[in-house]
Symmetry: C2
Subunit: 118 residues, 2 copies
DNA sequence: ATTGTAAATTCGTATAAATTAAGATATGAT
DNA sequence: ATCATATCTTAATTTATACGAATTTACAAT
């Protein structure tokens, strides 16, 4: 296999992880995994500005992680493939097994796994 | 569960993904998963400057993803827990299933999975 | 057309990350 | 102690990302 193709792959991997390297975007993917939400719903859930929500969604959409559906003045979003969160799940499991000594964090992980149906 | 704990968790997750959001660091973790290597080995494998290698290793070490062992003038590195790469693996699988239409990239993914014993 | 609401975009700025080059440490050999 | 090699650190630069404020677009209702 050519070095170029490998480099392309590693770059695309790193870009994918960059999408997940923001707490708000992880939350958005988790929310949209379960139900369709419009921008305002997400804004309320995350308690961040509308502009930030839109910009996160733009990034996620650009990388095909979410898709939109316009309905009147509202735009509803869902994850393109709910399997995105398996990556988050594997990271959670890894952190729980190897990185966390803080019991509160472990509790949070367990609760999140439950909420997200992992 | 308190919002604060959840926020801490999401932040720690995003920081973990940030570590993986660089092609060189993904490569390093993949290499060190299989065998112990010193800084020069890694430099040769990645074809980047020694300083860059050191800084990547510093980051990874700071976050307990790799550990070092000094032997004479050389410092040998290994991954702290080879399960880190399960996260990479899940990302690879997700990309292969959902994001990639480029057949060359799919071939690269398969070859990489083989090389890394996924 | 005008107004109101939802969402997207633009722009300026602040912060963080990546990168290189140069200098500093550490170790082993002579 | 001196020298050579391996690695680390620091400083300076560039590049990327995050964020808020303000503006603009899109749509619906009147």
């Amino acid at each position: 296999m050519s070095k170029e193709n490998f480099d392309k792959l590693f770059k695309s991997m790193s870009e994918f992880f960059a999408l997940l390297s923001n707490p708000d975007r992880i939350k958005i993917l988790g929310l949209l995994k379960e139900k369709e939400m419009d921008v305002n719903d997400i804004q309320v859930a995350l308690e961040i500005s509308q502009s930030r929500v839109s910009q996160h969604l733009k990034l996620l959409k650009l990388n095909s992680l979410v898709k939109e559906r316009r309905c009147g003045r509202n735009v509803y979003y869902t994850v393109t493939d709910s399997r995105v969160t398996t990556v988050v799940q594997s990271a959670l499991q890894f952190q729980m097994l190897c990185m966390t000594t803080d019991l509160n964090v472990i509790d949070s992980i367990n609760e999140l796994m439950h909420i997200w149906h992992f």
